[in-house]
Symmetry: C2
Subunit: 496 residues, 2 copies
């Protein structure tokens, strides 16, 4: 493992390769035999489970319930909402048959041509259509509203170029789908959920994000407004980490979902949808990790503390075990996930490299001399710094240290992000700056034409119109491209 | 709701219709627009989540980790294991294309014939093949073993006749897939997991089950041994509630998964798989519920206690609220899920019927006179009995009552099950008895021919060869059909 670790490409050499290697070597995920579909390995899945648990708690605290809707969607449903079909229908897995049969030549199984579906079914790329066709039967009156459902599910989009976690044909996500009696309530829900995501990203994942509204061009297909949280990766590219959509009455109209309002009149229902996916694993990796491997915020680390003994013989190991076991117990009692790795089939150097690669936040090393001196070597993964400390009250120290690491990882990412937001006023400056990576705040005339020209020229897109901005950014100016009036600066970047 | 409730068909009139109505009226699930696929509604999903949480805890306590494998399986994989393909490959959803395009006549979207897959993909009916093709890369040496993975996933089997929860085209489940260095270890794992399921069914779901081994004919396609837990529903039919399979080296051979053993020799890996599904929701409903609706064991009830106030005016409600709020707080502090339903848009009678239908285990009713007398009416759902009690220490009483209800529901189901196991010695007796429903213990000559003849004659199958049996059942006898020697009695029933 130490040997393999040395082969991890440096970020400065090839960031993209570093990422691909790290995902595989840290046992997070791997390509499957099915094109574009990944296997999420146990260590990677354990991190995803921690994200799920925290998000699920936040959804329930904000009044949402979970439900489950079908994987397959009748093809015709996709065409019901005109913009939606343009955005989603094209690249997706199509089920056309429901039976196989033995090949006549004995070579295996073949599709039974007699078992052709009357209407093809699509593996859900997102569930607005199937869910709104269901909500139709759940809603009669304003008393049936709001409906605040979330679903944890797999979805499929037939991406041509895939990368583990960032863009895969199949991925795991949650999708919230809510139904409301008024426009105001639906807008407030969409905003509430982008704030839930922002809070989760920053305070749980230690991932600084900029919250804002998408330009018309970057909106979800079928939405009136899309809110987003945008992170900045260490290579200067942005990553969309989660979105929340105000869908207006578009899906209610497409599926004819009306309700009797308080004034006893029929009205179309107002909708939102919002989701985050296993893409967050990519954001996590690319925001915090380094050339030695993963750096995990303690909140997401499957193993928060590893203890490695260094010993020459069984007798010494027995003495170390005796001293370490109560520490393990006490740390667990305090809710810390600890691994005491006294396996004798790997050298300490191998173990050190492996736990660094896996991003374990705190490593304690105890040798024979430490037992004599009542000391322990403490290494923190985020800074890779070591110190020797007394074993007295080491548990309380470790608990505090984990909090400190969580804070420090966030602060480091925030400092990096803040140092990579540049204001530019001319298109030449923009073209120069975009090559350096990072976010750019610039004036834009508000048109899709200009936005598309910028994308064509520079590969940069408008990531969002940030909710929060300094006063100068909110002062009207002139579009850097066309010179036309601009209400305020918006946020650009090249993005994943 | 009270009106609808009255329309719930009685079990004695039509058990099957009672079940279908109850699933829908109690808001557990409903048919979706996609043939055979269900929508699991929030109330039903909340029960499933409680099952998931407890099972997941038990899997982790027994050393398992979660992972995620692809939804789609290359068609050719299914043919690799000869028996497996016979059992599974036939009725399944087949993905043949990966793109839609706009219809030329503007009528919507059509499958793009240019986007045909080279090899068709199957939506997983179970994941042995894709997982063993993955394990091949994870396993080199005995040091890589065991692998103890579980997956929570959706699967699909194109069933022709579907019923909500019991038999649906898409269902949710968990599937454990483990890899071992020795036959003994794999056999012990398969046995361990059927015991985990049995413990879960009996002690968490209050569902008495008979554990045993399947006959060769009823084995999982590709297994050397299938262990099962079998429940008995109130209509006298058996329901297979979970299975655990010892797969031998079949899948390792099919996917060429070998390892270097301790003697430095190449050997095929030994395997198990085990799963339970949303079918357990069907078992839950059909074991405990009655003509008034669901009866839920407190462990699985989304709402364990409901409190309904009865009041004539706002002033009286305010006084009740004041008395009830601290009770709600104290019950929640004790980990009880409580709903105080003081909504004024439904009459108490409506609420009572609705919470009975939903199976809320304990109902407290408090009126103005109760406040004066410091009393409360307590109704337990399992027996539908009411008593008036002092409000003093009501919280401790309710906590104990919930335990008592959990125990009583189990005992009731166990008594029913035990009263419906009959020993018969002749085929005529068997044919007569099977019409009455229930389990039958009878002698069988051990051949598939006899087993199939019994099935043809009576629709009864061998549910299992029970692990535990009284001495007489373990005494050799003569097959009730052929008169040939029989080693012991085995368990028959008609089954779902």
């Amino acid at each position: 493992m130490a040997v393999e670790l040395k082969q991890l490409t440096k970020r400065s050499e090839n960031y993209s390769q570093w990422y691909n290697e790290l995902v595989v070597k840290a046992d997070l995920a791997e390509q499957s035999p099915v094109r574009g579909c990944m296997v999420i390995k146990p260590y990677g899945y354990a991190i995803w489970e921690k994200m799920q648990a925290e998000l699920d708690k936040k959804f329930k605290e904000t009044g949402h319930v979970n439900a489950y809707f079908p994987l397959l969607i009748p093809k015709s449903y996709l065409s019901r909402e005109a913009e939606h079909v343009e955005g989603f229908a094209k690249e997706c897995a199509v089920v056309t048959h429901y039976r196989l049969k033995n090949a006549e030549d004995g070579s295996g199984v073949v599709v039974d041509p007699a078992a052709r579906l009357e209407e093809e079914l699509i593996i859900r790329p997102t569930s607005e259509t199937i869910i709104w066709s269901t909500y139709k039967n759940w809603i009669n009156s304003y008393r049936d509203l709001p409906i605040l459902c979330n679903q944890w599910a797999n979805v499929m989009r037939w991406e041509m170029r895939t990368r583990l976690f960032l863009r895969t044909a199949e991925f795991l996500w949650q999708e919230g789908h809510t139904a409301h009696a008024t426009r105001e309530e639906a807008e407030a829900e969409a905003m509430k959920m982008i704030n839930v995501y922002g809070d989760f990203a920053e305070n749980f994942m230690a991932l600084p994000v900029i919250k804002g509204t998408k330009s018309a061009n970057e909106r979800f297909a079928g939405a009136l407004d899309t809110f987003t949280i945008e992170g900045l990766m260490q290579d200067g590219k942005a990553l969309q980490c989660g979105t929340s959509h105000f869908l207006g009455q578009n899906f209610a109209k497409a599926f004819n979902v009306q309700f009797v309002n308080r004034e006893n009149k029929l009205e179309y229902v107002w909708a939102t949808s919002w989701g985050v996916s296993t893409r967050l694993m990519g954001a996590l990796i690319m925001t915090h990790s380094d050339d030695n491997g993963l750096v995990l915020p303690p909140n997401l680390a499957p193993i928060q503390v590893v203890i490695v003994p260094i010993y020459k013989n069984d007798e010494m190991l027995a003495r170390i075990d005796e001293r370490v076991n109560p520490i393990v117990d006490e740390l667990r009692r305090r809710g810390i996930s600890v691994k005491y790795d006294n396996a004798d089939n790997k050298r300490p150097g191998f173990k050190f490299a492996d736990y660094e690669l896996k991003g374990v936040p705190v490593r304690l090393v105890i040798g024979g001399r430490d037992i004599e001196n009542n000391t322990v070597e403490v290494m923190r993964r985020d800074t890779l710094t070591k110190e020797t400390r007394s074993l007295d009250n080491i548990e309380a120290y470790v608990v505090d240290l984990l909090k400190d690491i969580q804070d420090n990882i966030y602060k480091k990412a925030l400092d990096y992000r803040n140092a990579h937001i540049t204001k530019v006023d001319t298109y030449d400056e923009f073209k120069e700056q975009i090559e350096k990576g990072g976010f750019i705040l610039a004036h834009w005339d508000g048109t899709t034409e200009t936005e598309e020209r910028i994308k064509e020229d520079t590969k940069a897109t408008i990531r969002c119109i940030p909710f929060e901005a300094d006063e100068e950014s909110l002062t009207p100016g002139k579009c850097m491209v066309t010179g036309k009036p601009s209400a305020r600066r918006v946020l650009f970047a090249r993005a994943y």
